[in-house]
Amino acid sequence: MGAEFVMLSLAPLLIGIFAAVACALPGNFLLLRRQSLIGDAISHVVLPGIIVAFLLTGRIAAWPMMLGAAGAALVAVVLIETIRRLGRVDSGAAMGVIFTAMFAAGVLLLEQSDTASVHLDVEHALYGNLESLIWLDGMGWASLLDPVALRGLPPELPRMALTLGVVALCTWIFWRPLKMATFDEGFARTMGIPVQLLSLGLVITAAIAAVAAFDAVGSIIVIAMFICPPATARMMTNRLAAQIWWSVAFAVLSAILGYVLAGYGPLWFGGSNAVSAAGMIATVSGLMLSAAALIGPHRKG
């Protein structure tokens, strides 16, 4: 059991947890700023970025595509902020305009170029392929101390761990100004906090988390984790710090429960095949949100 778990489940489970928490952390602030849709927006705008990266490099590889996706996400984020500030429109509307326009541009690009013949796997982008991120060199817990075996870890694992580290560090350092600017932007500005820069920094952090997580686990988890754990956590407490910790707990729990249920759930109910772990993780987070909406101690109305 130990050896099989380490080889087949350890890496996907950790990647799922890291991705969920990395998205949930900025998700807390996006939720309070009514910008939760940003995860959805980013998942659409990366399409043109990935295609441009393919056109430039001519191959399907992780790094160029991630850079292309990140570039597109940054362009989108800057455009959304610009439209929101200059056009004085609701952030939801600004996101809606940008993500449909950029997604449409991506579709046109795809059609007009040779990329249509390359198999850009929709299923992969959407659901990710968590179960495939296995650690063939992981022959048991002892492999965790074996440098040779560790080198065989799926590259998504260190990438996602690093992303989570950066996101967590940013959240910790900018905690106080983030809280103030989210609660009362005008006042925060009079206290010398660069609120526009901070707000841009927040969405850029969210974009980085999202792009790293797409590559590892697909967009379903990203969209769900930006919204569900923070929204569930909001109904558990009336203190922001506690909300953050609750959201981390819910994100971790969704990842573990979702992964286990996807792998073993269907077998328990007499089915023969496992279902998508990414889909199940997102579903579990949604069920948690529903439960909190029914019985959470601090739900509204």
Binding site: L32, R88, I173, F174, R176, P177, K179, M180, T182, F183, D184, G186, F187, R189, T190, M191, G192, I193, R234, T237, N238, R239, L240, A242, Q243, K300
Partner: protein, 259 residues
Amino acid sequence: MTLALPRSDPDQSPLCIRGLTVSYGEQPVVFSVDMTVQDGAMTAIIGPNGAGKSTLLKAALNIVRPLSGRITVYGQPLAEQAQRIAYVPQRASVDWDFPTEVLDVVLMGLYRDLGLLGRVRGHHIRHAKDCLDRVGMEDFAARQIGQLSGGQQQRVFLARALAQRADLYLLDEPFAGVDAATERAIIDVLKSLRAEGKTVVAVHHDLSTVRAYFDNVFLINRRKMGEGPISTAFTPETVQATYGGRLADGQITQLTQDA
């Protein structure tokens, strides 16, 4: 006493505005306004809805960027003196469902002392609680802000401003939609600030209390319509001129009667 100081010495004024124009599009909201706030006095900014009262304050604080204009604070550029100003925004401008507690909001007024990662220490908390005490909210320190009444929210905002230990207090409609007890509590605090030699400027909407609460008025209807001590600047004529024109006849009659 302070009230006898020359009124228009721009080098001494806590807030001196020259040629301020702000626009949210085609139409300027505030047009070419000069204002010289008197040190140690309480000034009311009055004018009809949409006359640019709040915008004037926000532009003075650089919350909205003016098209043109020069702003000095105690004779220096705003950026160098920003720590001497405390701003109390309109209560309705924030989401009171935000997950935080009363004491936490007051501690936000200490951000300049605390910085990014400075630890909140005992003396910070004591100072914040003293400020809550001054506005009569000492029993609410641990209360979630979503459970406060409108008047209590306004007092928490005032306590946050007090925590800043500023010299100039800029308040946007501090009496809007608050109960009588809160209005009393707030005006007492503002008068105690004046007694300490601080300067208070408030956007005010109730013409009937201008005389009782303030020393000076600043009348605005996009342009400056008058400025000075209540006795000379707050007359039926200036109020009529400020509120006239843009409002319906019924409203003008009602407002001037209030005056």
